[in-house]
Each structure stands twice: as C-alpha cells, then as structure tokens.
C-alpha cells in the first residue's frame, strides 16, 4: 500500500504538539492584516511519527546498504558527528552573536580553514559556500574579478572539458562568462593539442581560465596535468579545480602545489557530512596568493599574537574575529556558511589526522581498482590504457559501459534498475557524457571486500541476464516500493502541490 499523503491523515481539531499557554497579557491582533484560513493538516503526534518512519523505510541509504553512486562519495557518516552537531553550544548558537560569545565556534572554523588549506596546498580558505556549486561560483567570480582588476576585462572565456560536471558550464554562465568546451583525447584525457590551440592566437587574450576535475570524471588521473596547467597559465589564465573527487587525492597530491589557483571542496563528499536526501552540502573554497583577497566572506581570522594577550574585564580578549577579504566578491549566503557541516568535517578530520586521511584515499582507490578488476571481462572498461598504450589504474571511481553488443535492447538504465532488485543502489547513470551508456561506480573506502564481492557478483549475474533474460532487466525493479515511474506524465500534468494545501481549495 502507498503511504497516504500527510493531508489524508488529518482530522479537524487534532494536534501533534503540546504548547504552553500564554504567560503574558494578550495583545490585540490587527484584524485587517490576518489571514482567514491556514490549510495545514491536523495530525496526532504518533500518527506523524509513524508517517515519517514509514516514509523513511521507502528509502535506500548508506545506513542500509552499499551506495556506489559515482561522483557523490557516499561513504559512512560517523554517528559521533551527529551527536556533536546537537550539542547545545553548537546547535543553539546564534550566527549574529557577538564574537566574544562564540569563540569556540570561530576557533573551529579557523582550524578547519587551515586544515583544508593544508590538505590541498592553498594559502587561504573560505567556508561560506553552501555547496560545491556555490564553491564553483565563488571560484569563477574570483577569477573574473581578478582579471577585471588587472585591466583585462576582455578575459571572459572559461575552458571546460566535455567530460565536466554540468555545474561547471552552468556556473560560468551564471558568472557572466563564456564557456568553451574542450574535447577529450582517445585516452579520456585533456587533449593537449586542442587545449594549446584554444590558448593560442586571438583566443589567448580572452582566456580567463579553465575548470578541471581531478581525478577526471572518468576517475582517471591526468598524466599531463602539469602541461595542462602550464598551457592555460602561460597565456594568463587561471586554473580552477573542481574538488568533487578529492577523496582520491588526500596526502597523495596537493592541487595548490601542482599549480591550481583555486578549488572547491565538497565537505559532504570527502569529509563525510551527511547528504541528507539531497542536501545540505557544504563547499569551502581554497585559493593561492593571487586570489586570497577575493575570497567570499566572512572568513575567520586569528588575531596576531600581540592581540592575544589583550584582556578585559570579561577575561581574555577575542582571539578570533570575522574578516571580509579586502577585494571580496561578497557574500554568497547569509551568515557564515553551513556551520553544521563545518563541525562534522572538523570532527572527521580529527578522527583521522594526516596519515589517516592518506589511508582514506588509499583505501578508496584500492576499493575502486579492486572492484574494477573483478568486473574485467564481463564489462567494457573504457579508457583502460594511457595514450601510450600502457595499462592504467583508476582513482576512487571508474566507468563501465552499461551495455552489451550481444544484448542490443539493454541499456545502462536497465542494469541500474535490476541492481535495485539485487539490493544495491545503482551507480551514476549516463555520466560522464563522453561515455555512451556510462555507469560511474564509486564504492568508497568504508566498504568491505566482502560487500564489494557481492556487488561484483550481482553485476556479473545481471550481465548474464542481459543476454539470456533481458526482460528481467526491462521489468526491473520488482522488489522496490514502486516500479518504474511515468516521468513524462509528471512533467506533462504538473502536480506539485497537494490540492487540499491550496488556500482557495
């Protein structure tokens, strides 16, 4: 049975809360400004609890099973971090409190800024972006302003590989710049000759920068990364790194040391803050000396040692204060970022330390390569060799072709849906766009070899079914709470709001 909509559980006069009576004299309400009706449901407390518990049971989640959704880093979200987020001095702290009243929180943000800078080799970090997409936006706005301030406003082209996340080109447009797409070469790498061509002649003086994901969205390290960076920077462009795949890089390489000027971090991916059914995310942004004055603010500054000693009647003076960088691109959200995510990322880094984070990356990359090896022979593994024809390893994720020449009616989506029947969340479908029928698989470091073996076994069984009993795949899923949906109808007959919720209803 479908779970009823909350309005269907409603009965006039019922309530799910127990509120206090007013303890002050009643004031007169301004009748002419009041609303007539408030069409919210009326449901008892237990009925609300059951409703949402039953809804939760319709979800697949990391806590219930392996979630190899490529590019999303669905690793374990430590429970201790949830406890920490609910401590009263963190959960009930006002963002506009006087800095003297929130030195603990500001110290946490300050340390997290520094640690993220250390992990990626950047001079300065702002924690304010609310998500990776906002981090990208911050990065591109900084690059834009940097060129304007240098008297080169004509630099308005951002190079974006055709394998990029969709947010990259969308971000460029939002920032008022132009996208120039770059093709990949036969090995799935940046095509150096195409890149040099784009950075030459008349075009060179229009290059504002390049956005690059590392490892690439194919899960591959770019062997020519230094040449790529050099090609862009030698004509005056800046290099932006999309940090979505940072789980493959910690203590393996620092993007800032490689020469990137700017990157964003996805705290909800690499640093395990929960994905929450679609958010909240958190997208800190790190920069080198060229861009540090442009960071979005506010950021937390630790005052100089001399100021540390300053005391007043209330005790020690404020060691930490807010600072808007001098040429800041501004504020990207109200207040100072998704602090609830900052504190979880802080606790996560605390749990591992530097060597521990290296082990995170090693095991994430180990799991991906192991799973990839176990699928070899059953699935096509695109870009398996370097341009020079050498065997290569993947980063923390890899792409397989989710289709078979001898099963022409079966598509990647069918495989995904069948995987649901085997008890797994499907990989990312149809991304990156440069691989037809792509399945992007990211197991993460928190999965055991046993569970990877079971996933591989399921994928091999499905490959066999695709040839021998394809109808099983077309009908899948059959064990999920619902079967495949009529998505065309949802878009055609837009039904976005329960009719009883409409005031005029």
């Amino acid at each position: 049975m479908a779970e009823p909509i909350i309005y269907d559980l409603s009965a006039p006069g019922r309530s799910g809360v127990n509120l206090p009576a007013p303890d002050v004299p009643l004031a007169t309400l301004p009748e002419e400004l009041l609303r007539d009706d408030l069409p919210l449901p009326e449901v008892g407390e237990l009925q609300v609890v059951r409703h949402f518990v039953r809804l939760s049971q319709l979800n697949y989640s990391i806590d219930t099973g392996l979630y190899p959704l490529g590019s999303c880093t669905m690793k374990y979200n430590p429970k201790i971090n949830e406890d920490a987020a609910r401590l009263p001095g963190l959960a009930h702290l006002h963002p506009l409190a006087d800095p003297a009243s929130c030195q603990g929180a500001m110290m946490l943000m300050h340390d997290l800024q520094n640690w993220l800078g250390e992990i990626s080799g950047f001079e300065a970090v702002s924690l304010t972006p609310a998500a990776g997409a906002q981090g990208e936006f911050a990065g591109i706005l900084m690059i834009r302003q940097y060129h304007i301030d240098r008297g080169e406003p004509e630099r308005d082209i951002i190079l974006v590989p055709d394998s990029a996340h969709g947010t990259n080109p969308a971000t460029v447009t939002m920032a008022g710049l132009r996208v120039q797409q770059l093709p990949a070469n036969a090995a799935g790498e940046v095509d150096l000759s195409a890149l040099r061509e784009a950075c030459s002649g008349e075009n060179a003086q229009h290059i504002a920068g390049m956005m690059l994901t590392m490892p690439s969205t194919l899960g591959l390290f770019e062997p020519n990364i230094e040449q790529v960076i050099d090609a862009v920077q030698s004509v005056g462009g800046l290099m932006y790194m999309d940090g979505a795949n940072m789980n493959a890089l910690m203590a393996v390489v620092k993007p800032g040391e490689l020469g990137f000027d700017c990157m964003h971090y996805n705290l909800h991916k690499t640093f395990s803050t929960p994905h929450g059914g679609g958010g909240p995310g958190s997208g800190a942004v790190g920069v080198n000396a060229k861009l540090r004055d442009y960071l979005p603010g506010p950021i937390v500054r630790r005052k100089a040692e001399a100021d540390d000693a300053a005391t007043n009647d209330n005790g020690p003076g404020c060691r930490y204060d807010w600072r808007m960088p001098p040429k800041s691109i501004g504020r990207l959200k109200a207040f100072a970022g998704n602090f609830g995510m900052h504190l979880r990322a802080y606790a996560y880094i605390r749990a591992y330390g530097g060597e521990g984070l290296r082990q995170v990356t090693r095991c994430a990359v180990l799991n991906a390569n192991y799973l990839r090896e176990t699928l070899r022979g059953e699935y096509t593994l695109p870009y398996d060799e370097t341009a020079a024809g050498e065997r290569r390893y993947c980063g923390h994720e890899f792409v397989v072709r989710g289709a078979f020449d001898d099963a022409p009616d079966v598509h990647a989506l069918d495989l995904s849906k069948r995987l649901i029947d085997y008890g797994f969340h499907p990989p990312t479908n149809y991304f990156p766009l440069i691989v037809p029928e792509a399945l992007l698989i990211e197991p993460t470091e928190t999965e055991t070899k046993d569970d990877l073996d079971k996933l591989a076994e399921a994928l091999r069984a499905i490959a066999q079914e695709a040839r021998e009993a394809p109808q099983l795949l077309h009908d899948a899923p059959t064990t999920a709470p619902v079967r495949r949906l009529d998505e065309a109808r949802a878009a055609r007959q837009l039904h976005l709001c329960c009719p009883t919720a409409r005031p005029s209803a």
Partner: protein
Amino acid sequence: MSYIPHTAAETRDMLAQIGVESFDGLFADVPAAHRFPALDLPPAMSEMEIAAEMLAISEANDHAGDFAMFLGAGAYHHFIPSVVNHMLLRGEFYTAYTPYQPEISQGTLQATYEYQSMMCALTGMDAANASHYDGATSLAEAVTVALEVSRNRRKKVILSHAIHPQYREVLRAYHQGRDIRIIGDRGRGELVDLMEMLDSNTAMVAVQYPNFFGQVEDLRRLADTVHASGGLLVVVANPLALSLFTPPGEFGADIVVGEGQPLGIPLTFGGPYLGYFAIKQRLVRKIAGRIIGETVDKDGKRAYVMTLRPREQDIKRERATSNICTNQGLMALAAAVYLSLMGKNGLRQVGELNYHKAHYAAAQIDRLDGYNVDMTKPFFNEFVVACPRPIAEINAALLEAGIIGGYDLAQHYYHLPNHMLLCVTECNTRAEIDRLVDTLEGLR
C-alpha cells in the same frame, strides 16, 4: 583505523588481485615530484577524545540553552518538538542522497512533496520547489526568474531597504556578472517611494514581510502598482509570521521566498538553513532548483519523482539559468515534520505566542525612561527600540545578566545609531522578559 574496515590480509589480497605490490603502485599517474606530501594536521583522535573536544568547543560559546535569547534578525530561536530531531536522525533519511532513483527514494520524494504542499499552504502560492540554500540565495534566484520572465529585456531590480542587509549583499554578489541595475535600498524609502521608481524597464520589486524592522505592512497597493508596470512582486516572508498574517499569494505576490529556519531548524550558527521558494502557476516552468511532482508507476500506483528536470544544470549545462544541484533536503524534511506536528492550530498558537510576548516586551520597554519603541506599524515578533546608549554597551551589560541582546541596527542603517532590533519568541518566558526590562532600566 577509524571508519575504514580493511584488514591487513584483505588489503594484501586485493592489491594482489589488482596486480600491484603496494598502494603506491595505484598512483603512478600522479606527478612524482608532488606525490605523497605529508599533511601537517593534528594527530588522530579516538571517539572518546572527539566527544570531549566537541563538548569543549560547544561549552566555549554563549548559547540559547544557557542564556535568554532576544536576538533574531533573520535567525530565530524557536521551540522544536522532539519528534523533529528523531525523524532527522533516521539514517534512511539523512544518509540517502538526491532521489535520482525514484523507486528506492519514495520516502525523500514524498516528504519533499509534502513540504512543497505545506509551503504552498503557508504562502498562498501554487507551487514551491524543493528548496534553495537559504533565504538570501532564494531571493537571488528570484531575480534570475524575474529577468527570465522579461526575456532579459527588463534590467532593473528594485529592493526595499527594509530587506535583510545580508540578503541584499548576497543578491548583489550573485548578479555581479550580469548587466542589471539594482536600486531602491540606499535610502530610507517607504513603499510609495519604491512605487515611484517603477518603469517599463523594471523586472521586479522585492520587499520583506514582516520587514527587517519587524513591521507588517499592507502590500496590496504595491502589488497592484508593480503589476500595472509589468514587473513581478517578490516577497521575502518569515514563514512563521504567515501563521497569522495574510499570505502573500492572496495580495498578488508573484514569487514568495524566505528563510525556512523558523520551522523546526536549530540556529546552528547560521546554517544549514532552508531557502524556500514559492511561485504562481503561470511561472512554474521558470523555477530553478529541484522540484517534486506526483505521477504513477508502471502498475498505476501513486508515486513521486523529480520533475521538470530538463531545466537543470546536469542536462542543460551552460544554458541552465542556475548551477544549483543540491537542495536543503534534510532541512526541508525538518520543516515538513514540524509543520505536520504543528498543523493548522498549533502553528497559529505559536504565532500568537510570539505576537503576544513581543507586544508585552515592547510595551514594558517603551515605558522605561530613555527607551522608545517604534509602534507606528503593526509588528510580529521583532521591534525596534531606541536606546539611551550605544547598543554594544547595552549588549555587554545584558550578557552579564545572562541575556543575549538585540541586533545593533547602526551596523547597516547609519541613521539608526543606538537602535536595537529585539526579537521575542515563544521560547522567552515572562520572567526572562521581565529580567530584560529590569536590566535595561538599570542602563539608562
């Protein structure tokens, strides 16, 4: 180690099956000169140590658990029923991601659909999306919609100065790369002054309701005037105030946005919050962000799915109007559970508690020598107090008395030195209010 389950034997076995001798063999493509840097981070901690560390950080802050809180200004300390937190702690909710696979995400999808429905109920609008990052970014996204509606022919955006100062900063930051004019908020303009700025180049007018100073204004005439000029009216509304006051959809708002944090989301030092976004039916296909629609499955069973997907960045890429790809999913769930528990009568009751307590506090403070409360317009749970001393001094003294005082308006409104914006909610007891009043009296 920590959250990694690998045993040494498994690791050896896996490396062998891959055909490398050690981990290092997996990273051959990384430039050797930069490979394997040491990270200068504090050493790893056990769970016990982490718990102690986080507790110490928590205790180093002055918070609403220990202090009487009279600070609002866009972030509010409200009562959150226990059930909300228990539902958010369901791992099935908080460790899932975007419902790309609707068959195994119906929980998130239906809860989001219910959230959208209840936001329509509150605002009086026809459709709501699955949320933006916060109230400020929701407003910035409304500008994009308004420009799109005019097919980018109209280039002027008029803002009331009584919109949260940080929201206006965010709006400007978002649109710094666009060729548009943002005006109206430099002075102390009343609604009539905004109307005078309207012309055929105006894409939208935005006002806040209740405004940043807590006042509730009748926006009917403004709505009519904006529409007569062919622009859109965008209203930034506190959703809790809508438990009492006329919903913007009723007086003609085209887009209603705002901060959903008052609906069951703790202060958490500024985020994660919930940017709600509601719109009239005729504009719904212009909406940015994720949106959930009802449909049926293969067997005709009712089900929910992300819809109008072709607007989004992963499909439309550089032609998308926004790069947003997450929503504030878990925060929208919090609001859905909160509104389900409160319901029609509970939410109204909370709204009235806020109203009565704020009016009691305002009247008591207004009686004090040297203090003056602006009661020229109706207000909800915030009001402006003219004080006899700089607000920093007053707040320092209040803190000594266990009270977190109000927002210093002079930070952004230079014509309001010694003016404080105070907020009183259902969480403030009469005893707390009386203590506030007594302490203020001693500060003349």
